[in-house]
């Protein structure tokens, strides 16, 4: 590796390459190897990856299998295989109706937190990351250093000051207590920043400026489209992060009416403990399964946007 210099993915190479990426060939870009018969599928690689997949999926298989068992069966049958009877649909019905359908309420809450929180976080991170990538302004280095520095402080000890501050303005036990902190995605910021540096060519911006377009107009009409794969990645991560948000909601919320699914599930799980123990493990497991399904759907939906890799248009016709 030391003897061969890495082939630079430089501006010039891309500029040369760009004319061939005009609309006509766009559909065939990086979407597969149909057009190249020499790209053989590797069996070895597939087997190696299959091992990865088994590692990733066995625990989830446990979840699926055990969601089909009712409570007594959970305690008497082997974990990785089915028990007597198939109670998946009964479990789902029970999960959705337990305690007057509080699970559905939690589901709705989580949707709210995700749409506003993840959507907001992606928006803020995209706009700010773009600004960091494409503009030189005073305090730029400081911005990133501060963001990274603040993230390095463990969240658990920030929880108490945040809690005290929120309770002073009466925000604890409200959705805002969950949404506001989740609007900051330093990771998203960094991702868009590094992505935008390469994905949005400055010549494009210069051309637009010369045409008289304002900065925001350029951003919305040209840059946003170019940033799509990056935005989709950040959005996906933000969705997962807000969907799985557990610690801060646990501290901020005392009324189960506002719980997200994670906190609700952990409360059900804790009901198996102590003097008034009422294990509802089957509901916890089924509820967990139901909690994962929307993320899977979101992922499948969003991954279409990864197919478009390069600039949607070109500077030099």
């Amino acid at each position: 590796m030391a003897t061969v210099a890495p082939i630079p993915v430089s501006e010039s190479a891309r500029t040369v390459a760009r004319p061939s990426s005009s609309r006509g060939r766009r559909g065939a870009l990086r979407t597969g190897n149909r057009r190249d018969p020499r790209k053989r599928k590797s069996i070895v690689l597939t087997i190696v990856m299959a091992i990865f997949v088994i590692y990733s999926l066995i625990p989830l298989a446990w979840l699926l299998i055990n969601a089909t068992k009712d409570q007594p069966n959970l305690f008497s049958s082997f974990g990785l295989w089915f028990g007597d009877g198939f109670s998946l649909f009964q479990n789902i019905a029970d999960t959705l109706t337990y305690r007057d359908g509080i699970f559905v309420q939690w589901f709705g809450n989580t949707l709210l937190y995700v749409v506003v929180g993840a959507g907001g976080a992606t928006l803020l991170a995209t706009v700010a990351g773009y600004g960091l990538a494409k503009y030189k302004f005073p305090g730029k280095r400081a911005v990133f250093a501060i963001v990274l520095g603040a993230v390095a402080v463990p969240g658990t000890a920030l929880a108490v000051p945040t809690f005290l501050l929120f309770s002073q303005v009466g925000l604890t036990n409200t959705p805002w207590a969950v949404i506001l902190p989740s609007l900051i995605s330093p990771f998203g910021l960094y991702l868009i920043w590094t992505y935008a540096v390469d994905a949005v060519p400055t010549e494009l911006l210069e051309a637009a400026r010369m045409d008289g377009a304002g900065e925001f107009r350029t951003f919305f009409t040209i840059s946003l489209r170019l940033l799509t794969p990056g935005i989709v990645t950040v959005l996906l991560f933000a969705i997962v992060a807000t969907w799985n948000n557990y610690f801060l909601p646990l501290i901020m919320l005392s009324d189960p009416q506002w719980y997200p699914l994670t906190v609700g599930l952990s409360q059900w799980s804790a009901q198996a403990t102590g003097v008034s123990a009422q294990p509802i493990y089957n509901l916890v497991i089924t509820g967990s399964l139901l909690t994962i399904v929307p993320i899977v759907i979101a992922f499948l939906f969003l991954q279409r946007f990864w197919q478009s890799g390069l600039s949607a248009g070109s500077v030099k016709q």
Partner: protein, 449 residues
């Protein structure tokens, strides 16, 4: 003469004015129920219930919903917002946060006995003596009543109780020829016999539980914690403690205890299939067994707690009551709800139906209650044994004014002794050291032996 009499009459008038103001002022103070720092009187409670209003109640008991519904039926003008803010320490954390923040606490909250001193000494609870609740003493058995009376004040009303007993799996005992132990020596002998005959089975499970430890020390006569206001003394090596450790060390060091963590999936399974042969725990356990260990139906029985020398002695393990928070905007109404919750027939009826073990003497001594013979326990009249055990609970046991914290660091010290199968006394000493340090840091005057 005129001026003197005039000044005298002025003086008299001023004096009268001052006196009147003082009387008025005192009355005003006595009448103010808002803010809740000083209470009213017993009649305030009835008046508040008649007037109506809204209160918030934090509880995790399964019967809470039904109880609230029954209450609202009886008092239609009162609305109770029931919130399940989490089980024990989760709820206590939220309570403490709300108390610190100065807002967000409920009017009434469920608190276990070991945690009540912490909130009482933190001046977060209303002293219910102001409403005359101290007159309810005879309604409750002594253990729970003592637990809600702290430092001369009454800070809650008991809901359930947990006098200890020995729950054993008769099928396992019969299979391996074990006798139901009456003393701890016999218990240890049973443990050795069982484990030798079948290494996959254990007499009981214990990987370290602060509640269990304190209860066992209590039963052995130990009084490790004393607290008078802010003066605290800790002695986790007193005579009673040492009595317990000399017995229990045999089990710990002899590796005769199952290390399955309590209340886990595996633990319920082990109770169902005979891996764990006995449980030394509070009288509320039957409800848990019946609802969660269906496989064990018919196999379990109840016996009195083994003793050290044959004389009956018992302790409480778990259980709790409800308290009224000072943050409450309507403490009289909250107290009224509390009284109904833990002192009315209609409420305790609901509570008992959900499997709770009562703390009220009327229920404990009722013939119906004593005649209950659940199928799960092979038709045994378990309540006779349990109520008898309640009579033998010794008095004088105190918890620390920071017991919740103490329990949270128990595993760091005593738990390590369990993990290493070594002398529990060393673990207890380490625990004591941490507690003394913490207490002093927090401004208490703590002495450790």
């Amino acid at each position: 003469m005129n001026s003197t009499s005039r000044s005298a009459s002025v003086l008299r008038r001023v004096a009268t004015a001052i006196a009147t103001t003082a009387v008025l002022g005192a009355t005003l103070v006595a009448c103010s129920a808002g803010g809740g720092s000083t209470g009213g009187s017993a009649s305030d409670v009835d008046a508040a219930l008649k007037k109506g209003g809204t209160i918030t109640y934090w509880s995790w008991t399964p019967s809470a919903e039904a109880q609230v519904a029954a209450f609202e039926k009886e008092y239609p003008k009162v609305k109770v917002k029931l919130v399940n803010a989490g089980t024990n320490t989760t709820e206590y954390t939220k309570l403490q946060n709300a108390i610190k923040a100065g807002s967000g606490a409920p009017d009434v909250a469920q608190v276990e006995y070991y945690a009540i001193p912490q909130f009482a000494l933190g001046k977060a609870l209303v002293d219910l003596k102001a409403y005359g609740f101290d007159k309810l003493k005879s309604d409750y058995s002594t253990g729970p009543w003592n637990s809600v009376n702290i430092d001369g004040g009454l800070y809650g009303l008991p809901q359930d109780s947990g006098p200890m007993a020995l729950f054993y799996n008769k099928n396992v005992f019969d299979k391996y020829g074990l006798t139901v132990p009456k003393t701890w020596d016999e218990y240890v002998a049973d443990a050795k016999k069982l484990h030798a005959a079948d290494p996959t089975k254990y007499i009981t499970s214990d990987s370290g539980d602060s509640g269990f430890t304190t209860s066992m020390i209590w039963q052995a006569g130990g009084r490790p914690f004393t607290a008078e206001g802010t003066k605290v003394s800790i002695n986790l090596q007193d005579e009673g403690t040492k009595k317990w450790t000399s017995t229990w060390n045999q089990l710990v060091e002899g590796k005769l205890l199952s290390t399955i963590p309590g209340w886990s999936d595996d633990w319920y399974k082990a109770l169902g299939n005979g891996t764990i042969a006995t449980l030394v725990t509070g009288a509320w356990m039957p409800g848990v067994l019946e609802s969660s260990v269906k496989d064990g139906s018919g196999a379990w029985r109840v016996a009195p707690m083994p003793t050290y020398d044959g004389t009956a002695a018992n302790a409480e393990n778990g259980g709790g009551g409800q308290v009224v928070l000072k943050q409450s905007k309507n403490p009289a109404l909250a107290a009224g709800f509390l009284k109904w919750l833990n002192n009315s027939k209609s409420s305790t009826k609901v509570f008992l139906e959900s499997g709770g073990f009562p703390s009220t003497t009327a229920d404990l001594n009722s013939s119906d209650f004593l005649a209950t013979a659940p199928e799960y326990f092979g038709g045994q009249k378990i309540n006779e044994v349990l109520v008898d055990g309640a009579k033998n609970v010794s008095s004088g046991f105190q918890y620390l004014p920071f017991q919740v914290y103490a329990n949270s660091i128990y595993a760091d010290s005593v738990g390590q002794a369990y993990a290493a199968n070594s002398d529990l006394n060393a673990g207890l000493q380490a625990w004591q050291k941490s507690l003394v340090e913490y207490g002093n840091q927090q401004g208490f005057t703590v002495t450790g032996k």
